[in-house]
Symmetry: C2
DNA sequence: ACAAAAGTGTTTGGAGTACACCCATGA
DNA sequence: TCATGGGTGTACTCCAAACACTTTTGT
């Protein structure tokens, strides 16, 4: 089957998918293998895809996430487009694109999205032949990703920091459904690059009307169990 | 002459150019005439253009502004891309595009920029056959613009409000080189949709290190002349 | 003289920050 | 009993907001 009539080879979407493991902010990357003159070259890239003709950009980003994780209703926000002519300067990237899309590829402008997901959800990674895993945002700076994906992640990170600052309720997209104030504080500190005071943080949190205290405690911790909270509305 | 080999007909840039006239926030729109079955239809659109093959997006936006105003070094910031398949649903828009570009046009994804310019600069409007003029942001909501340009302007306005809030020095891109504190306050209030107190505003302004008081006064005003200031660095 | 905007200080409330001790639990 | 993090209140500082009168200039 040919995809010639389905894909628009000029425009793609890429998603910077953020997760929080309780300690660090993580980004989801996909393994990529290219066989070049019978040598396998491996590296990583962001989840993404060229768009279909007649497909809206937001829909394309949702589709990419759904294919990758099996989830719908993920928080998604477009943050920037990347269209430098030399973002496809590396012949390896063109080669990979043409093989995977079966299209003749020239230049591609990509529209970048950030997504926030709860890392504790069981995700359908490794479906088909893709294998995805989480990487600390800090270690990514030292990796050599496909295309301009290092740049996209750096910009996405900056974007999401601003965004979570303006709309703090989005923090709950990254936490499990039930969470402790410590987890919330730790996430808050990772995002704001701060180290906030426990008592002051409790005070701040006490004024969040959308935070509701549950009648449940943490379990299986080797110390006093913390109270669980959930996010409402 | 054909433009077939120069333009990439899948991607365009559009610029929401903001100015400040001392009282209202303004946006620059271009007159558009389409002759449909021998009837002239007139409306307005944002300054924009499809990009050249091998042209970077930011460069395309700069080019559009330079062609329109004759100015370089205008503050420009990409804020969002619009790619809904039905943004070119109106046959009038397709007709106009194909006539002006001499290209077969299908779907176009546009990358939108905001620009800030000093409205007092003598601009090279009406060059060639384009005629551009300033419109109050408020009156634009009631106009029917080409494509999805109403939406783009609304989003651009929201973007620039956030942006000027985070980076207040950008306010000076909109003011004349020499200005009074009243003008600055009035601009500030238009952006923040507030009505700030004169004394408190003076206090705030007094702590801006990049604001320097000049040894000059306003001229030609029918009341006590205000001191002039300029922005430094 | 009067109209119109410029310019100038003080008080108050709320928000953010700093800071130390006892409690509950599992090992 | 000890180690580990959970949970709690008070004092200080700083910034934002409210508020009214005198000055300068042109008509």
């Amino acid at each position: 089957m040919t995809t010639e009539n389905l894909y628009n080879p000029h425009i793609s979407v890429d998603c910077v998918v953020f997760g929080f493991d309780g300690e660090n902010l993580k980004v989801l990357l996909i393994e990529r293998s290219i066989d070049e003159q019978n040598e396998l070259y491996n590296d990583k890239k962001l989840p993404g895809s060229v768009i279909f003709y007649e497909e809206d950009l937001d829909d394309a980003a949702s589709r990419v996430l759904n294919e990758l994780t099996g989830l719908k209703n993920i928080y998604l926000s477009q943050f920037r487009s990347f269209g430098s002519p030399n973002r496809t300067a590396n012949p390896r990237d063109i080669l990979w694109l043409e093989r995977t899309t079966q299209l003749k590829i020239g230049r591609i402008v990509t529209v970048a999205y950030v997504a926030l997901i709860k890392i504790d959800r069981k995700l359908v990674f490794n479906a088909e032949d893709t294998s995805a895993s989480w990487y600390n945002v800090n270690e990514i700076a030292g990796m050599q990703l496909a295309f301009d994906h290092n740049q996209i992640i750096a910009d996405g990170l900056q974007h999401i920091r601003h965004r979570l600052d303006l709309e703090p309720h989005l923090l709950f997209e990254l936490l499990p459904r039930k969470f402790t104030i410590s987890q919330l504080r730790s996430l808050y500190d990772v995002i704001h690059q701060t180290k906030s005071d426990v008592r002051n943080f409790q005070k701040k949190v006490a004024q969040m009307p959308y935070l509701v205290m549950l009648d449940e405690l943490e379990e299986g911790v080797p110390h006093r169990a913390a109270r669980l909270y959930k996010y409402k509305k």
